[in-house]
Amino acid sequence: MRTPAAVFVDLVYLARLREVLGIASERVAIPAAVVTVGDLRALLAARGGTWAIELAPERAVRIAVNHTLVEPGAPLRSGDEVALFPPVTGG
């Protein structure tokens, strides 16, 4: 739990995830109970519909905070850029 000051993060959706969710980026205020990247993913999945399907725990979704891949336990800070995307396929 954090202090009650509003916490905003910038979300970025990439590749197939951007297409199926129909959104490229958004700025969201996150509740005090949302402390980690995993909490954030659950929060977004709770939007239901395609969000629930695509971000379900069994789906492979990679998350980067400020351009670095992180594990679900990574903490969130106000102003973070959080990117959600499918496993990479370049090269």
Partner: protein, 151 residues
């Protein structure tokens, strides 16, 4: 140490000249070029579009390169990855490594490719006669990256 993400094609001779330059301590140059195939998982590929995540791309490639340099004695590394629309036979990526000896250059070049394939934020979307589709990640790529942990 150079990392470039660009729509333009690259020239192998020119890229290696840039890397080798006047460095007469180099005895081995290994390059990897990834190219677009006209067939993927039994489907004809008409074209493919490469998308990336600007900012993270350069950062992740630089991190992969730094890890390779920490593991092996390298003289220099060049990574070029193309984005945008590509067609069969087109070049996608170049990884070039110079070292005094070949063992280091081969290992580092393959290491960089294995990690680029699993950690650098690029995605391929293929156009096939049946429509477009995002390419699925391969578990063989995860396996390839995984085996470096035990080396």
């Amino acid at each position: 140490m150079t990392v470039r993400v660009q729509a333009a094609d690259f020239d192998l001779t020119q890229a290696v000249a840039e890397l080798h330059g006047g460095d007469a301590r180099v005895g081995a140059i290994v390059t990897f070029v990834g190219t677009v195939r006209d067939l993927d998982d039994a489907a004809s590929v008409v074209s493919m579009t490469l998308e990336h995540y600007p900012g993270m791309t350069e950062k992740s490639l630089a991190a992969i390169e730094a890890e390779a340099r920490a593991r092996w004695e390298l003289r220099d590394v060049l990574i070029v990855h193309r984005v945008g629309e590509l067609r069969p036979l087109d070049r996608i990526v170049l990884v070039a490594v110079t070292s005094a000896h070949r063992g280091e250059a081969f290992a580092a070049c393959e290491f960089i490719m294995d990690f680029l394939k699993t950690r650098a934020p690029f995605w391929k979307k293929e156009e096939t006669p049946a429509g477009s589709r995002w390419v699925d990640a391969r578990t063989t790529d995860d396996d390839a990256a995984e085996r470096w942990k035990t080396r």
